[in-house]
């Protein structure tokens, strides 16, 4: 009886095996499908509006030819200032977590970095509203920068931490042996050795916040006019896309698609650069 059952058992096991392989392959295709759907549509809808005018003209009322130059400049301004705030703080925290002996506080700091990176971006907007917009008495570009900086710090800190940990201890020991001070070892020896990983982390943070809309809704607020004063409301590309997407006008909707295409292209370029960088290092 045993001899009779064995082949049947083996067959069912084989069938299960192949069915499972097929199923996971199918699920993988399902996972990749949205990428092509979203990319395809953004290119198809956005490309017709991609011309010089989009980059040189500011936003205009519907019916009048316009672009997003003010939003593009505004976005660069907001994200630029956010980078200036978050780079020193993020790298500092990263150096601490990798280089300083601090026992439980070190793991705790890492844990806090993770929790901080999980705070919803809309809640970050609420905090920036409470600590910057309210005291200043109005919406401003700088409050948007503060919100984005809070989003960037944990990303940069974690990337710095991980990059510095890759640096062999012997390199630090070399520094100590010739009598370098702690800070000299960190800044002149360890950080330059691991700079690729740190820059990668910064670029990923940059690319992430460049597309953020929610934390800017009630901080930078957006501006229909050409405005570069960071103490005043400033336009940003994602905010403009959000507003135009929900408008009933087809020329505004067209600009929303083109703006999306531009954001996606920038995000992809940054992503591929960082990947090539990481791949080259290995």
């Amino acid at each position: 009886m045993d001899a009779e059952r064995k082949p049947a058992l083996r067959l069912s096991r084989l069938i299960w095996n192949h069915a499972f392989t097929g199923l996971t392959g199918l699920l993988l295709m399902l996972a990749v499908l949205p990428l092509f759907l979203v990319f395809g549509y953004v290119i198809y809808k956005g490309l017709p509006g991609l011309n010089l005018q989009f980059f040189t003209l500011p936003t205009t009322p519907t019916g009048i030819p316009g672009g997003m130059s003010n939003a593009i400049v505004g976005s660069l301004e907001i994200v630029g200032v956010a980078s200036l705030i978050s780079i020193p703080l993020g790298i500092g925290a990263g150096i601490f977590m990798s280089e300083i002996r601090a026992g439980w506080f070190k793991s705790f700091a890492r844990f806090l970095t993770d929790v901080l990176s999980g705070v919803p971006s809309i809640v970050v907007g609420l905090l920036a509203y409470a600590i910057v917009v309210k005291p200043m008495g109005g919406f401003s570009g700088i409050s948007g920068s503060v919100a984005l900086a809070i989003l960037m710090i944990p990303v940069i800190a974690r990337a710095t931490d991980q990059a510095l940990q890759q640096v062999p201890v012997s390199i630090r020991e070399g520094g100590w042996a010739v009598g370098a001070r702690q800070a000299q070892v960190w800044l002149r020896i360890v950080l330059p050795t691991a700079i690729g990983g740190v820059v990668t982390g910064f670029l990923l943070a940059f690319s992430r916040v460049l597309g953020e809309t929610a934390p800017l809704l009630f901080t930078a607020f957006g501006n229909q006019f050409w405005a570069t004063n960071m103490m005043q409301p400033v336009a940003a590309v994602p905010l403009q896309i959000f507003e135009y997407a929900l408008s009933p006008y087809s020329d505004w909707q067209q600009e929303a698609w083109t703006g999306s295409l531009v954001l996606v292209i920038i995000a992809l370029i940054i992503n591929l650069i960082t990947r090539l960088w990481v791949a080259k290092k290995r």
């Binding site: 996972a31 990749v32 703080l89 925290a93 953020e212």
Partner: protein, 303 residues
């Protein structure tokens, strides 16, 4: 001079790291402080109130909590099944260039800004749901309470679907990393005694990586809960509770996004801040636990 610079660097590094707990505390204090009026007025009833009526100063958060939970759970199930399947394929049935390039394709999904998903969802997915997807579900599964009512396109289903797409790369990439961390020797041992690949994965790999996979799913869920703009654009923005996935709803994050700049009086602003507080506590809890789980399993300590 050098000593001074050394001290400056020490101060800078300590200041940057102390900013992390400070920010967390600041989040809690400010959110608590800003929502004090609403907490004093409604107490715990805020979480159970089903009416959101700014005109009559009645604020209940349940419709938003419901919308967030429903859309996030939907995306957790959909992206969980697809992402785990994809991660298993990437780990066990592909290697080298194929594995890395497929992995990159999925991770690129994470690079697309939220507002672009919202735009795509609003102009491509929603019309499709309205014209094809929802009528199909109503025809074939209309006996279930989830698939009844008018096909509007916008609603819980649209919100859940867009979230599924958005959290898919998180779940896939993390589950793949966790599965890749399972020691090879264990697979090989099972293969050597005659198990099929499917059996190895089912009996050995998945149980071994269990806590890491749970962590990946929780991280994905956390992302879904905190996602704002894309959901705001497709969920329909109506504060109601409905058993039908076709009905328009609202989420915690999207009501803040839509109404915060329009809130005209103190209690209204305070109620929106309390929604933000709920959101903050919910995600902090999830991220905390998820990180601990992923940490433990990728380090191989404890199960």
């Amino acid at each position: 001079m050098s000593l001074l610079r050394d001290k400056t660097a020490q101060v800078w590094i300590w200041a940057s790291v102390l900013l992390l707990p400070l920010l967390i505390v600041l989040f809690l204090i400010m959110q608590g402080n800003q929502s004090a009026d609403s907490i004093a007025r409604f107490g715990w009833g805020f979480l159970l109130g089903t009416t959101w009526d700014p005109v009559h100063q009645i604020f209940g958060g349940l419709p938003f909590l419901f919308g967030t939970v429903v859309t996030s759970l939907f995306s957790l199930v959909a992206a969980g099944v697809i992402g785990l399947g994809a991660a298993v394929f990437l780990t066990f049935y592909s290697r080298g260039r194929v594995r890395s390039s497929l992995g990159v394709l999925i991770e690129l999904l994470a690079a697309i800004p939220s507002v672009v998903y919202g735009l795509w969802g609003l102009y491509v997915m929603v019309p499709w749901l309205q014209g094809v997807g929802e009528p199909f579900l109503a025809r074939n599964f209309g006996f279930l309470p989830f698939f009844r009512g008018a096909s509007l396109g916008v609603g819980y289903l649209a919100g859940g679907l867009i979230l599924s797409i958005m959290i898919l790369p998180t779940i896939t990439a993390m589950a793949r990393d966790v599965l890749l961390a399972v020691p090879r020797e264990i697979h090989e041992g099972a293969l050597a005694i005659g198990a099929t690949k499917f059996e190895v994965i089912r009996v050995i790999s998945l149980p071994f990586a269990r806590s890491g996979i749970i962590g990946a799913l929780m991280l994905g869920f956390g992302r879904a809960v905190s996602e704002t703009i894309a959901v705001t654009m497709v969920i329909g923005n109506r504060p109601q509770i409905s058993s039908s996935m076709f009905a328009p709803g609202y989420t915690l994050a999207s009501v803040i996004a839509n109404e915060f700049t329009e809130a005209t009086y103190q209690l209204y602003i305070s109620a929106l801040n309390e929604i933000g507080l709920v959101l903050l506590l919910l995600t902090a809890l999830f991220y905390g636990v998820a990180r601990l789980l992923v940490w433990r399993s990728t380090r191989g300590v404890g199960m």
